[in-house]
């Protein structure tokens, strides 16, 4: 069954159309990359799926249920986890506590003012940190973690809610080249293993072409192409407005310098 089906999504800010009639779908175990130039509307799309923004028109269906305009909190409860373009974690807590809070929230254990929180969901949190490669950092405060580690932490927190759909907005931004692919391969493995559907945006073409099953390309708020990585790579329109000749974006090895 299709996990996420988006149809005719539309949103404008102060008269400027940011997203204009976008449709796509994600199946269980599938990774769909949403790419496009800066300002094309990718994050706006994300925020409408995640509930941070209410669509002006169109529908967002999660496993058949319309979630357009539903609050992020309820969307999370319906099984959607997400990471943000600018990482959002709890700076005053350790990495482990961050995941614990997410797990406790998922199990509806938040409203217990007497219980000590120290050991709640601890094994689950440690297992998740281990899975994303953060076990060594578990006792460090999120506020002092390196950016790439925060991205992993966000992933662990999102997974703590056992989602069926994972939204990742530029999941590898700020990470070193090698780490990027490694992180997304990890996600790839989890997606396949759990039947998790993943929708992500990304500027690193090594990552995009390396892990996604399908790619959708946005430009000026509209979907201009969608399909398998090879087809997208070959699409002249996509090359013209987004990919360029690929020397600096990672699509192929770098060539020599060039005159200006």
């Amino acid at each position: 069954m299709t996990v996420l089906a988006v149809e005719g999504l539309r949103k404008s800010f102060g008269g400027v159309l940011a997203v204009d009639g976008v449709s796509f779908a994600v199946e269980p175990g599938e990774m769909l990359a949403l790419i496009g130039p800066n300002g094309a509307g990718k994050t706006t799309c994300f925020n409408m799926v995640g509930g941070q923004l209410r669509p002006d028109a169109g529908s967002v269906r999660l496993a058949g249920r319309d979630i357009g305009g539903v609050s992020p909190r309820r969307i999370c409860r319906l099984g959607v986890g997400r990471t943000f373009q600018v990482t959002a974690t709890f700076a005053s807590m350790t990495a482990r506590e961050n995941v614990q809070v997410a797990a406790v929230a998922h199990r509806r254990g938040t409203w217990r003012p007497w219980r000590s929180a120290a050991d709640l969901e601890r094994p689950a949190a440690e297992a998740l940190l281990d899975q994303v490669g953060l076990a060594a950092q578990a006792e460090r405060a999120a506020g002092v973690l390196a950016y790439g580690d925060l991205k992993r932490l966000e992933l662990a927190m999102a997974l703590a809610a056992e989602p069926r759909l994972l939204l990742m907005d530029e999941p590898t931004a700020g990470m070193a080249a090698g780490e990027r692919v490694a992180l997304m391969r990890l996600v790839r493995g989890i997606a396949t293993g759990r039947g998790l559907a993943v929708l992500f945006t990304e500027h690193d073409m090594d990552v995009v072409f390396g892990v996604s099953d399908r790619i959708a390309v946005l430009a000026r708020g509209a979907l201009i192409a969608s399909g398998a990585p090879e087809a997208i790579r070959a699409d002249p329109q996509v090359r013209a407005i987004y990919l360029g000749d690929g020397r600096t974006g990672g699509e192929r090895p770098a060539s020599g310098g060039r005159d200006c």
Binding site: G36, P37, G39, A146, E179, Y242, G244, G249, C260
Partner: protein
């Protein structure tokens, strides 16, 4: 032109840089490479003074600048372009440029908004637009243009390709080449190896706040071992 020695910096209570040292010659484009948390951004911030180094020396030209306030370093000709862009969102493009304005410097052609608009044609079309209402790529152009208005001799570029679409990254590379032609020296911090390889002549690899390797970009390309040890996972 820029010589760094024994730089130690803390971020809050965390010791980030452990005796970092390297040099960038006049007219060179050097790149700082390394994994997350290796200390690239902290190095950049220590060079402009947003992070006050606990010890060590930063010589710029023939001045010791490690203890100076950021604005004094900028007035001496160090230009800093932050990773997060830090555009003044309520100010228009022209106003953002005006904030960066500093007197012209001997031996360099002074930058004017018009000259910058030929370097970054997109900006010329939106002079009155508030910085907060520009796309990421446009903001990245603006933040570099704003720093150039200070007529720097030396440019510190912190992850200029971050979060930009491949096409814009290409334009960025072209702009850096153009700046080098103007006579600027440049230090980049980068994650994007392809981009770094495209624009840089020298490379400095940081690992856990220490310099692990320095050499020319060509040497780095040839040295698969170093490449694999420090830059891949």
């Amino acid at each position: 032109m820029l010589a760094v020695e024994g730089l130690n910096s803390f971020y809050g209570q965390a010791h980030i840089l452990h005796g970092v040292g390297f040099a960038v010659g006049s007219g060179e484009v050097a790149v700082l490479l390394g994994r997350n948390g290796a200390g690239k951004s902290t190095t950049m911030k220590s060079l402009i003074g947003l992070v006050r180094p606990a010890s060590g020396s930063v010589r710029f030209g023939n001045r010791e600048v490690a203890r100076m306030e950021p604005f004094r370093r900028a007035q001496l000709g160090l230009g800093y372009v932050p990773e997060e862009r830090r555009i003044f969102a309520e100010l228009t493009v022209m106003e953002n440029l005006d904030v960066g304005r500093q007197p012209a410097r001997d031996g360099l052609r002074p930058w004017t908004p018009e000259r910058l608009f030929t370097l970054f044609p997109n900006l010329g079309a939106m002079r009155r637009r508030p910085g907060g209402r520009m796309s990421g790529g446009e903001q990245q152009m603006l933040t570099i243009a704003r720093t150039l208005m200070g007529n720097p001799r030396f440019l510190l570029l912190d992850e200029p390709s971050e979060g930009l679409s491949p096409l814009i990254v290409e334009q960025m590379a072209a702009a850096i080449h153009a700046l080098r032609q103007e006579g600027l020296s440049i230090l980049l911090a980068e994650q994007n190896l392809h981009f770094a390889a495209e624009v840089a002549t020298q490379a400095v690899i940081l690992e856990s706040g220490r310099v692990a390797w320095t050499g020319s970009m060509a040497a780095l390309r040839a040295d698969a071992g170093t490449h694999g040890r420090y830059l891949a996972v």
